[in-house]
């Protein structure tokens, strides 16, 4: 959508007043949110609270990607859905709830799972991406696509009583530029053995744990989108150093912040030696499911 340069409507001053008056957001920040677009991949335990707070904050356009339908076992943590919406698609269910929260936000449904063939064309229309999915294959696919398109990525995950959060590819500089933020492959060059991967279905998940991580994704997205340009140049102020937030509900302290590496000089996606290209993705020659392996259920942790 074209940049809007005139200030907000009267009802927007009222609705967003409490965040508008803060120096960290201000009128400029609110206008940045209004002209921004966010893609939320996965409308489950992470995506529900992330979407609620981004729509509440007045992001201009929010896209929702999911191929699943609402199940009763989702409801303890997926708070945009409700009992009456069991069997509805998650995208449809979320859109109803989000529209009633804030009708000013344009919501874009993307029914179905993201695939290598659809990833570039889906993500290219958005300014920032939230990875709210639940498999290693989708995490590599989303990160690779964000690097190829130059989009920052807010990646979170949760299992049982633990959660993790990273802002990746921030700033989203072209592959080979070592000043760009690290990508998912810089941090995890190889996927974990398939038998070590535990899903929320198998391992369980405590609702407020995944809820906390999802809300923090919304927060990080708002911070990236409203960042004020530095005084000395037209560029944004330097991004925070790359870090991983680790949450552990039954540990003391519950939260730890870990300093992460910068871009890996031999990263397969974001380095000068990248082998993952838009052509490879579009051609369907990248098999992320194969890359991450599959597991005989008997061997699973």
């Amino acid at each position: 959508p074209p940049q809007r340069r005139w200030p907000l409507e009267a009802n927007e001053y009222k609705r967003y007043g409490r965040q508008l008056i803060m120096p960290e957001i201000g009128l400029q920040g609110q206008l940045r949110l209004k002209t921004a677009s966010v893609l939320i991949v996965g409308v489950g335990g992470l995506g529900c609270p992330a979407a609620a707070y981004l729509v509440g904050a007045g992001v201009g356009k929010v896209g929702l990607v999911d191929g699943d339908t609402v199940e009763e076992s989702n409801l303890h943590r997926q708070i945009l859905h409700s009992t009456a919406k069991v069997n509805m698609t998650k995208v449809e269910s979320a859109m109803i709830a989000l529209h009633s929260l804030n009708p000013n936000v344009e919501l874009v449904p993307h029914q179905g799972r993201l695939t290598p063939e659809t990833a570039l064309s889906t993500l290219q229309h958005y300014d920032i991406v939230l990875d709210c999915t639940d498999t290693p294959a989708s995490r590599y696919l989303i990160s690779d696509t964000c690097v190829l398109l130059g989009k920052p990525l807010v990646s979170a995950s949760a299992l049982r009583t633990d959660g993790q959060l990273m802002v990746l590819n921030n700033p989203p500089l072209p592959p080979g530029n070592t000043s760009g933020g690290p990508c998912y492959r810089c941090v995890f060059p190889k996927p974990p053995p398939a038998e070590s991967v535990v899903t929320c279905g198998d391992g369980g998940i405590l609702g407020p744990v995944v809820g906390t991580m999802g809300i923090l994704q919304a927060l990080e997205a708002i911070k990236v989108l409203t960042k004020q340009p530095s005084a000395s140049s037209n560029d944004s102020a330097p991004a925070d150093p790359p870090s991983l937030l680790i949450f552990s509900a039954y540990s003391n302290p519950m939260f730890r912040t870990i300093r992460l590496r910068t871009r890996k000089l031999k990263c397969a996606v974001c380095s000068a030696h990248a082998t993952v290209t838009p052509e490879a993705l579009n051609s369907g020659s990248m098999d992320y499911v194969q890359f991450c392996g599959t597991v005989d259920p008997v061997d699973a942790l």
Binding site: G42, G44, G45, L46, G47, D131, C132, T133, D134, T135, P136, R139, A156, S157, A158, L159, R160, D162, G163, Q164, V187, F188, P189, K190, P191, P192, P193, E195, S196, V197, V198, T199, C200, G203, I205, V210, L244, I246, S248, S251, R256, T257, I258, R259, L260, R261, K264, L301
Partner: protein, 110 residues
């Protein structure tokens, strides 16, 4: 748990997160005393610590969920005093008294 300071040993804290604690009797935090030097007489590094954990601490038989090809398996981050081990020399980092070494398994659920 460590005794009075001994020239030949190093006292460290080892932590597990993201489900790895289940491989270590559900202990999230261990106070360990390890030899200051490895089998070859060189200062103990992270590679030695990983072998030590596997051989003498880990009761779970599923070693392959912690190590692969003699180092931690893909999908485990090693953090030395709250920094990615890539910033510290990876498994060649020589361990110092009081170090905190955290092993974090990546999570994928959402």
């Amino acid at each position: 748990m460590s005794d009075a300071k001994d020239e030949g040993t190093i006292g460290i804290t080892v932590e597990f997160s993201g489900g790895l604690e289940m491989l270590f009797s559900n202990e999230r935090k261990l106070s360990l005393t390890i030899p200051a030097k490895d089998e070859d007489g060189t200062r103990s590094n992270i590679a030695f610590l990983v072998r030590h954990l596997c051989d003498t601490v880990m009761k779970d038989p599923r070693k392959e969920l912690f190590v692969l090809d003699d180092t931690v398996r893909p999908g485990i981050l090693v953090l030395i005093n709250d920094a990615d081990w890539e910033l510290e020399g990876e498994d060649k980092y020589e361990i110092e008294e009081g170090d905190n070494i955290l092993f974090v398994s990546t999570l994928h659920g959402g």
